[in-house]
Structure formats: C-alpha cells, structure tokens
C-alpha cells in the first residue's frame, strides 16, 4: 500500500512548467499514486529567499510542510528539484530543536517537525517502479533514442537528497527503458546546464548547455528527457541561441520525463502539454509512429 502523498507543485509548475505538472499528475493517476495538492501552499523559499536568510527560507518551506502535516500526510512529493532541496533542508532543520525554534518564531502556526520530501522521479521510481510501469505501457516508446538528463541538483547534495547515485543516477534511465525507449549512455547526466547564469553570464550558459546538446547529438539521441523546470526551459527555449553560438543545429526536443512516460502510458498529447514545447517534438515522435 503506497502512502498518500501531499503534492507540492511549486511556482514553476503553475507557470513555465505547466506541462510538467499536467503530465506528472496524469502519470501518477494511471500508476495509482495518489497526489493531493497541499491546500493554500505558498512559495518554498528557494532561489531568492535562501540567498538572503536561511531561517526565512526555512520558514517558507516549513509552512508548506506544516500544512501537509496537518492534512495527515506522511510525505511530500514535488516535481521541482529546487523546491525539493528547500523542503528537505527545512525538514532537516525542523528536526533540530534550535533551528526549529528559530523557524517557528516566524510562523503563526508552528511546525512540530520535519516531513520526508521526495522528488516526483523518486516517487514514481519507488512507489510504482519500472516493473509496474512496464506492465502499464500501452504504446512503447520503441525506436526513440532518449538521453536522460537529471540536472545538477536533483540528487545533490548527496547526503541531503539520499536517492540514487549522485554521480551516475539511473532511476530515470530505468523508467524510460521500462517505457520502451532506447536510453543512451549519456555521460553528462548530472552536469550543470548553466541555467542560473542565464542573465549575468550568457557565455557560460552557451558553453555548458552547448556541451550537453552536443553530447546528446553525438550519441544520436532523438530527444532529451529532463526532470527540472529550469533545465527544460534553458535547453528548450535557448536551443536556437546555443546552436548559433556553437555553429551547429540541434533540433533536439527537450521533454519532461513524465511527458515521455505519459505517451507510453497512452495518455493524449493534450494531457501531456506537448504543444508547449519550443523545439518541435514532431520529428522525434514520428519515429514512434504516433503521427506528427
């Protein structure tokens, strides 16, 4: 029996990554993972808050953990790696009496202690797992060569995230394989794509993201699978800029891994938000014989 999870979408999933939210929920529904959105959830305190004050960012995340606790949930699932880092950090801090007191001083409803938080990838891998997924596949991704890209923070820091191998993770590989895709041995699974340097150091982004796209192209990948809204946006939206700076065309669609799993599970294109991708997924998907 899988425990009921509280679902924490986070702000990106309401905006730039709506398709991640939609496809993730749809996959969980098919695979019997019950997700209940935390009522009245607020910002998790990641990017801006923790740079200013870790107690403040802790309190922002703790508020959401507190709401999940009150709802009687045993854990929280979040698709966004940034939210995950912050929720896990807050959870750890809440288990320390000193830190808890400082965090709770900022909250009107104090939070009694931490609550386990897992990524959507971990939830799908541990609650459903490759075997159950394979059994539920109706339209295998046969013929599609996918480079799984986990991003730099989904498994790091390893002590805090405590899931999979932080240097050579395999959870997404296994799920995609179960969905019938041909997964390439992508060497840069956990390299940084440089997204957070998007504004101050565009040259860095071109270099770091360029490496990723080039490696995927060299391996003959038809698509990238990602698990992070920031990675997706960066690699997808900026792909033309990167291509220009590297003087090399890519045309590699950047899917959320849940979109690909959803396709295999027979979900409709609209349910998965495929139309929101910038790089046209059509050519890649035609390999599946599902039509462009």
């Amino acid at each position: 029996m899988s425990p009921a999870f509280a679902y924490y979408p986070g702000c990106s999933l309401e905006g730039t990554a709506v398709e991640y939210d939609r496809s993730g929920r749809a996959c969980c529904a098919v695979l019997g993972i019950e997700l209940t959105e935390i009522p009245d959830w607020s910002c998790c305190g990641s990017s801006p808050a923790h740079a200013v004050d870790t107690v403040l960012s802790g309190a922002l995340a703790a508020r959401n953990l507190g709401l999940a606790r009150q709802g009687g949930f045993g854990g929280v699932v979040t698709p966004c790696p940034n939210c995950l880092v912050n929720l896990r950090t807050a959870s750890r801090d809440l288990d320390d009496p000193d830190r808890r007191a400082r965090i709770n001083a900022l909250l009107s409803t104090p939070c009694e202690g931490g609550l386990p938080a897992v990524s959507l990838l971990q939830a799908l891998h541990e609650q459903a797992g490759p075997a159950a997924l394979a059994a539920a596949v109706v339209r295998p991704l046969a013929g599609l060569k996918v480079a799984p890209y986990y991003g730099c923070i989904l498994h790091r820091p390893p002590g805090l995230m405590a899931f999979d191998d932080p240097e050579n993770p395999v959870a997404m590989d296994q799920l995609l394989e179960a969905a019938g895709a041909e997964v390439v041995a992508f060497p840069f699974k956990t390299e940084c794509c440089g997204a957070s340097y998007g504004v101050p150091r565009k040259d860095l982004v071109m270099e770091l993201s360029g490496r990723l796209l080039e490696a995927a192209a060299d391996l003959g990948a038809d698509a990238l699978a990602v698990a992070c809204p920031l990675c997706q946006m960066n690699l997808d939206l900026r792909q033309d800029q990167i291509a220009a700076s590297r003087r090399r065309a890519f045309g590699i669609p950047v899917f959320y891994f849940t979109q690909l799993l959803g396709l295999a599970l027979g979900l409709g294109r609209a349910d998965l938000g495929l139309d929101r991708l910038v790089v046209d997924p059509g050519p890649a998907l035609r390999k599946l014989g599902t039509g462009g």
């Binding site: 240097e167 050579n168 041995a185 840069f188």
Partner: protein, 659 residues
C-alpha cells in the same frame, strides 16, 4: 601509615596554570601525609631519586605523584617506588596535567582542583594493599595470522629466533598483495624475486607450520596460553597427494571462476593454483563454479589427476593449536572504485584499477606483460592515472591518506613508458606524498626522465567519446579546467581494512579504529602492541603501509614476541577481580557478564557453587564487580572501599563559587 606526595611542575606544562607549591602545602595537611614536595620534572632521574631518598629518609609506606596521565608514566613511578623498597602498588597517581592544567586557565581554580585530585589519591592510597604478580609458564609458540609480506617476515623472524610458528593464511597461497605486484618502488626490482625466496623459506622452515586456505575461528586463553581453533576450509584436493603438476587445471571445463590473483582481469578454471610461485603449490576447487560439485556431472579432474588427489567429498575441518602469543598481519583490501559513479569504473572496460594494471604489467599476468585495453586489446597510446581514488575523501568515509598510491602510480607511469615507448602518461594528483628513502627522487625521475605529466587537481568525470575516454578535471595550478583524451584510465585505488577485520578483532578481543584498522596500544610508544597482552600487530592491518614499513613492523612484532618469551615465565597483572567466597551466593551473574570469559564455576568443599576468577584471563575491567548483587567480587586495587573513599574526599571540599 606514612605517605609522601610529589607535585610535578612538568616544566611549565603544569606550573603555568597550577600553583604546585600550594598544592604540596595543602597535601601536608592531609591525613597520613608525612612528606610533600614539588619538583620540576618528577619523572627525570633527579626527580625519581628524590622519591627514593624521601622514602628512606621519612620512612614512607606509600607515594602519590601528581603529574601527567598514568598512561604516560604509571609504570615508571611504580618501578621507582619498587626501587625504594616499597610494593609497586603502594603508589597512586593524580593526573593534574591532562585533567587540570591543559584544560583550565584559571590558576586559582586549577590549584583547587589539583588539590582535590591529590586528596582523592591520598585517600585511595591509604586503603591500598601490596599486590604481587604471579609467575606462570608460557607456551613458546606464536600464531601469525596472515601470510602476506608482513606475516612472512614475522613468522621467519620468530622462527629464526627459536620459536615454533603457526602461520594461518586465508587464501590458497601465502604472498599476499606483494606477490601480485610486478615491480616495487623505488628500486623497480621484481617483486616476486624479492618475495619468492622468503616464501620458500617459510615452506622449508622446520619450525613453521603453515595452514593455507584456513581461518582463525576462535581464540581462548590469555597471554602465554592461548588456544586457537583453526578452520581448514575444504579444498576438495588432498594436499598430501597433490604435486602441483597442474594437469587438472588444463582439463577443467569450467572456465568462468573468478581469479582474485589477477584482480578479475581474466577468469580462471574451477580448479586452480593461484600462481606459478604459489606456496604451497597445490590445487583448490572453487566449489561454487565446479560442475561436479554443483551439478554432479563432470569429474574430469579426478580422472586426469595422476596422483589421485581429488576428493569431492572433502569437508571443512578444525585443528587446535596452543600458542603463547599472536601476531596479526591480515593486511588490507583495495578500495572498490565503483563507489565513484563519475569515474565509470565497472561500467567502462578501459577504466581499470591499479592492481589490474599491475597484473597487466607483470610478465606472469594474464596478458603476459603486454599493456592492452581490455575493450579491444589495442595498445594504449595515452594512459591517464588518477590518484586518491578512495583516499583523503571524507564524503565516502575515507578521510585518511593511503600512503602508497603516489609511489605506485609513479612506478606504473614509469613502467608504462618501458612497455609502450612513446605513450603519453598523465597523473592527476592532489599532493605528492613521498617521504620514504629514495621516494621523492623517484617521483622526480618520473617527471623529468620519463616525461610523465603531473596535473594537480581532481578529476570530475570520465566519459567515452568514440572508442576513447575523455578525462575531465581541474588543473588547480593553472586555475583552469583540463580535458585529456585517454585510451586507458588507471584508478589509483586507496587502501581499506581487510574484510573480516572486525570479526577477527572481536575474536582476539582487540580494538579497531573508526576505519576498521586494528588499533595499536599507543600511537607513539606501543605501535606494535594491542591493548590485549600477547597480541601484536604487523603491517597494513594497523593502517596503510608500504612494503618497507610493513616489514619493519613485522620484525618489531617478532622482537616483542621474542622478548615476551625471553624470561621463560610471564608475570600476571594482579589488578584483577577476586571473589570473596564467604559472600558469594553462586548466582553466577558475573560469569554471564564477563566479556573475557574469565569467571569459572567452582564447587566449594561445602558443596555449594561459587564463582572463581581465573587470574590470568581477567582483564580487570570491573564488569563483574558492578554486576554482583552481593558485592562479593572486588577488583584488586579498585575496591568499593577505595573508590568510595575517593568520592568522599571529593565531596568534602565545598563547591567553588562560579564566576
């Protein structure tokens, strides 16, 4: 009773923050104290002579020295007191250095605390009784556990010194890691040419009994009188008949057994002799891979063996040996590099470990000494070595330096140039640590004569590109990222404790450190002893060591054993538990709790059951004393009376007012 108190300044170690004269002055007012003085260095010759003189002059019955930790000098002062004609146990030590001057800065309060500690010591000493060690005979035989270079050296030294030696080796041959090496640093001489004759000496020595393919299962007894049971694992080959001809190996159809000697580079047959120079040179069947033993369908080796040595029905047997001392020389294990996902060890065939590379360099190795890529058998033109794989990394629980990787990497880089002239060699390193004799010169040669390119920095990732590997890392001297294309990557893996070290430590009742290495008695002054009398350490079981260091320590351990037996008899420590038969009700709770099995059940003349402490086994831990509901067991020298007297002495002083 007339007692003397000596308060030591320890130069400025104590005197800087304790008023030693005032402590001595206060001591003069304590009960039974007939003499008190302070001295600059009590442990020095004049300091000790002053104690001897004071005992004579003032007719003292006991002495308190307030100075450093008893671990440091208790034995010294016991000898001084004995020299003055007193029983050595009529001595007490108050630790006013580690417990006072080194941990507190407030001179006034330090002085008060030092006075308290002296008062406690005086109260205890007033209740001390002279104790006398017992002499007992020792079995002049020694057990050496582990047949690597350290075990071999220790066994030979002991045997040459006239002791009988029982050498137990877990694998089928002695030789250990050194036998696997091609060359040794910094002389680049052939490892088996150095070790081989020593292995033969072991086999031929009349006073050495070798149990190969055997393990120590249990140890009982105490220094001078250990009883060891040794499990001889089933080899399925009668070694009395086997001549080592190797006919069986040629014909064995099961070719997929692991070959630990070649570090997994090549598979072996189910029946095998580990290497050509093995001692003993006898065949062993790997039961898990033998078709006869797993499916009952084969029996080829039995048919071809010209001596009829094969015995599929063989089972493990146990032998018991009596020894007086034990030398542990179980060595180390190499780090498993698959822990580092980013290096791709175990995933990419051309990322290998240093031991695999060593086997490749060896003329007797699986490639006959040719350096090739495991993936396609091509000769690599560019070889990258990565140091500190599994060393100096607290994130994976290996914060310590493995000590020998810098040197063996330089050796392998040099040998690479000999085997593949013109090959490029790169070494990624954190620091070069080469403090041994001729070591730094050797590293220089690698850099200057052999053109090995040293890059100071960690490697972040290894990934394939075409049929080559890309090694990406940092060059911290250039403050730049670097990327090197390699045909072969060699991970210089570090050392970790041998498998089973913890179980063996429990069997021997010795301690291991946080990383699983055996713990020495004292890091400076007892480097080869353990805290269990009669058990000594040699080689890398105590921490990573290279060959010279292992051999030195092995000889040191042998010297300790020879010294132990030199006098014929041993003296027991009288600070042991003693049962008062009038109070003991025979509940035997103490027998159950004693961690050393030192308590026996005894029937008195009245027929009642009572506990009896075996003096020579008792380690004086005191567990039985606190267990006994009757208070019938007392630890000599630490009786309830003595401890309570100390506590009372402490409670008599008013609490200091704080700040």
């Amino acid at each position: 009773m007339r007692l003397g108190v000596f308060v030591c300044h320890c130069g400025s170690n104590i005197a800087a923050t304790v008023d030693c004269a005032a402590v001595a002055e206060a001591a003069r007012a304590m009960p039974d104290v007939a003499f008190a003085a302070d001295s600059i260095y009590t442990c020095s010759e004049p300091g000790q002579e002053a104690i001897v003189a004071a005992v004579a002059e003032h007719g003292l019955d006991g002495v308190v020295v307030a100075s450093c930790s008893p671990r440091m000098h208790e034995r010294t002062f016991r000898r001084t007191v004995a020299r003055a004609g007193l029983n050595p146990y009529m001595f007490e030590m108050a630790n006013i250095r580690e417990h006072v001057s080194w941990v507190g800065r407030d001179k006034e309060r330090n002085t008060a605390k030092a006075t308290d500690l002296v008062r406690m010591a005086v109260e205890k000493l007033r209740r001390n009784r002279p104790l006398t060690p017992r002499e007992f005979p020792a079995t002049r035989r020694v057990l050496v556990i582990g047949g690597g270079v350290a075990g071999i050296q220790a066994a030979l030294d002991c045997a040459d010194g006239g002791l009988e030696v029982v050498l137990v080796e877990r694998t089928a041959s002695i030789g250990g890691k050194m036998a696997q090496l091609d060359k040794t640093f910094p002389t680049v001489d052939c490892s088996s040419c150095v070790l081989g004759p020593r292995m033969v000496d072991v086999a031929q020595h009349p006073d050495i009994t070798l149990y190969a393919y055997s393990e120590v299962a249990a140890v009982s007894g105490w220094v001078g009188n250990f009883e060891v049971s040794i499990r001889r694992k089933a080899t399925y080959v009668d070694w009395n008949k086997c001549t080592g001809c190797g006919e069986c190996i040629k014909k064995c159809p099961a070719k997929d057994a692991p070959d630990p000697f070649n570090a997994g580079l090549a598979p072996a047959r189910a029946i095998n002799i580990p290497f050509p120079q093995a001692i003993p040179k006898k065949a062993v069947i790997n039961a898990a891979h033998c078709k006869q033993l797993t499916t009952g369908k084969c029996g080829v080796c039995a048919k071809v063996c010209p001596s009829g040595a094969i015995d599929y029905a063989m089972t493990d047997t146990t032998v018991t040996e009596k020894v007086g001392a034990v030398i542990v020389a179980t060595g180390y294990e190499l780090f498993d590099p698959t822990v580092y996902g980013q290096y791709g060890g175990g995933r990419y065939p051309d990322v290998i470990t240093s031991m695999q590379y060593e086997r490749m360099l060896s003329a007797s190795g699986p490639t006959g000494g040719h350096v090739v890529r495991p993936s396609d058998g091509r000769e690599p033109q560019s070889v990258v070595f990565i140091q500190c794989v599994g060393s100096r990394d607290r994130h994976i629980g290996r914060p310590y330096c493995s000590g020998f990787c810098c040197m063996y990497t330089a050796k392998q880089a040099i040998l690479t140039r000999d085997h593949v002239p013109g090959a490029q060699t790169y070494v990624f390193y954190m620091d070069i640590r080469s403090p041994g004799k001729g070591y730094d010169e050797f590293i220089r040669r690698a850099m200057e004569e052999y053109g090995v390119r040293y890059v100071r920095g960690r490697v972040s990732r290894i990934f394939p590109k075409g049929d080559r590997l890309v090694v990406r890392g940092a060059d911290t001297l250039m403050a730049a990222q670097v990327q090197v294309e390699a045909d072969l990557v060699v991970l210089a893996v570090g050392a970790e404790h041998a498998p089973g070290a913890q179980e063996l430590a429990a069997t021997l009742r010795v301690s291991i450190d946080e990383h699983g290495f055996f713990l020495e008695g004292h890091p400076k002054l007892k480097p080869v002893e353990t805290n269990t009398a009669g058990v000594y350490l040699a080689g890398a079981c105590q921490g990573p060591k290279d060959i010279p260091a292992s051999v030195s320590q092995a000889s040191a351990a042998a010297a300790k054993v020879l010294g132990l037996f030199a006098r014929g008899t041993l003296a027991s420590d009288p600070q042991v538990a003693l049962v008062d038969p009038r109070r003991c009700v025979g509940c035997l709770k103490c027998l159950k709790t004693c961690p050393f099995g030192a308590i026996r059940e005894e029937q008195g003349r009245d027929g009642a059951v009572r506990a009896l402490v075996v003096e020579t086994v008792c380690q004086g831990c005191g567990v039985c004393c606190v267990t006994c509901p009757q208070g019938a067991v007392q630890l000599q020298h630490f009786t309830d009376d003595q401890i309570l007297a100390e506590v009372e002495a402490l409670c008599r002083t008013p609490l200091p007012t704080c700040g």
